[in-house]
Symmetry: D3
Subunit: 135 residues, 6 copies
Amino acid sequence: MATIKLWTDEEAAIVPDVKTVFDDIRATRKSDFVNNFWRALANQPRLLERTWSSVKQVMMEPGVLDPLTKELVYIAVSTANSCSYCVHSHTAAARAKGLSDEQYAEFLAVVGMAAETNSLANSMQVPVDREFLIG
Amino acid sequence: MATIKLWTDEEAAIVPDVKTVFDDIRATRKSDFVNNFWRALANQPRLLERTWSSVKQVMMEPGVLDPLTKELVYIAVSTANSCSYCVHSHTAAARAKGLSDEQYAEFLAVVGMAAETNSLANSMQVPVDREFLIG
Amino acid sequence: MATIKLWTDEEAAIVPDVKTVFDDIRATRKSDFVNNFWRALANQPRLLERTWSSVKQVMMEPGVLDPLTKELVYIAVSTANSCSYCVHSHTAAARAKGLSDEQYAEFLAVVGMAAETNSLANSMQVPVDREFLIG
Amino acid sequence: MATIKLWTDEEAAIVPDVKTVFDDIRATRKSDFVNNFWRALANQPRLLERTWSSVKQVMMEPGVLDPLTKELVYIAVSTANSCSYCVHSHTAAARAKGLSDEQYAEFLAVVGMAAETNSLANSMQVPVDREFLIG
Amino acid sequence: MATIKLWTDEEAAIVPDVKTVFDDIRATRKSDFVNNFWRALANQPRLLERTWSSVKQVMMEPGVLDPLTKELVYIAVSTANSCSYCVHSHTAAARAKGLSDEQYAEFLAVVGMAAETNSLANSMQVPVDREFLIG
Amino acid sequence: MATIKLWTDEEAAIVPDVKTVFDDIRATRKSDFVNNFWRALANQPRLLERTWSSVKQVMMEPGVLDPLTKELVYIAVSTANSCSYCVHSHTAAARAKGLSDEQYAEFLAVVGMAAETNSLANSMQVPVDREFLIG
């Protein structure tokens, strides 16, 4: 698996642009664990830097959506896009942020229901009601 | 648009299985508005009944996820599945449930970020870390 | 709509490679109607020829799947891929081949159910049972 | 793999809501085999019950589409949604219902052709012909 | 259409964060035209700023892929994701960057062929050859 | 993995229609390696022949797009369709055709950016600007 090399800490240590991001990942998360997604992106230091910077801003800065809600939205998109890696990593993240079994059960029900009605609406090509349009 | 007829209230009135669901939609939502999705499903009364019953259970019964979170998950799935109808209807539903402009802005940022990282992880075929696996 | 020009019959008449395909579409279907998909593909005569040739072989030659089953499979794929044009054209084709309202209702139920369970299996990342593997 | 635990028969035996569904799966299919999808859903007993009940109604009740056609539609959707689990399980189910190699070959040709023309129609953004619209 | 308001130039003029981006779009592209995508994102000034900044870096900075190749990759992704807006806007951009009819015809053939073989490989669940793996 | 048998060279040797294609794959690519995609398609000799013939025409004949650009478009589609097999095989093909690490880094940035803006445009249901329409 993987179309590119996964960087070890030793390899990261000798490329400053990569090391800086790995260090910031560890400091921000208060954990020594750097997951494979970042080890793969290390092959492209500039993309690594921009992606980490965006993820940090979008997922970790305080805002008006709580962190768990953001993770659920993330898993929902990842499921629909069949991203096995992302489903695994963000489900783990959601659990770390307190997702209970009951919440996960409700989440799965919503994800399944959405996919079913998406499919029905797309099959029947239902026209959008005027009431849903803006302006 | 639409591959099937959209049922008017007059047509629904004379088919008891359809009328029952339309009446329940109105009573449950406390609104006279029945949107096109249900008017299209009325062509298949049994599917109409089962779908409405599931939506009511999944989206409207009290649970451990708040109603707005469920709508955001719904829109996220619908966006990834390119269901224009569903995006319109559930964004309207989310606003009706109090989605603020600030929340919507954060939601969009998460949806976009998830799609980007899904694409990166799928392109690089990043292997799932052991740490994310169960058991 | 359309990122390219749709060819009229007058335009097609003066490009032999396009005219030949349009003539064959009409002869094969025993109808004067040439739908927009082919009028768009006419901008790429070689792709037009290869695509029509494949569609004719796959969808119209006698085989071991009946023509209506093939159309249902086609609509199922088109729905999941959110191809509005293809859903419209192949639902019309299915009706022309005898799709009844009862059959369409059952088809929609299967398409919706499949999408729902796809989403659940992808969310939970269910491992494939050994029993389903070949060899 | 899997973001949740797969329930063993021993675990299922002590939760009545799960045991009832597992028993019904075995009785309905006349087989002792309960595949991983249901063992994963067992974590959410209510979703397990509703999903099994819908699958039984949609896929197993006698209707106007034959069981093999329904399986082909199911695999078609699962393929387009990249659900590896679902493709495996429903291809196995289709074979159990008599899918021949010749039928499978034709099915694959249709699935491939549909995906190709979906992509072409979406790329060129071909407008829907008036002739395909209802009403 | 649109789940949010599209900002006019008058509205943008009075919100400095939005005005700055609109001005930069115009200056960078040497054109007065600001397309709807940015007028929609203006509702979320921070997301507008980050997205424009990334697009500018990824699509417009000199690099080792030529600008037309990047546009073709962009359209390919947008087609597979059924993003009608993006297909339209990036096909227009590709033409502005010199896409010829012959190149577009070859591009469409590749996009269609990729979708077809994706579908076949996903249907048959073909295992990845060892020869394609890294390391 | 795989829902069908992968053909060995010994098995291919005794079915002329399959042997002819395998021989042509080897001759065309000047390599003894026949990858699993073709070994799976060998179960459907007619589909094998048509698919190989199209791939050869689309991907290998001299044209106006260079071979590496075609591979990048192919990977882009395969990524969006979550075809793990296709991403692996065509990334390997792209590298064999000279894809540099720098080019791959830029390609990934474009693929990720496209997916993100697709998601944003689909979420906000941005209407297509008149300026992007043909005719």
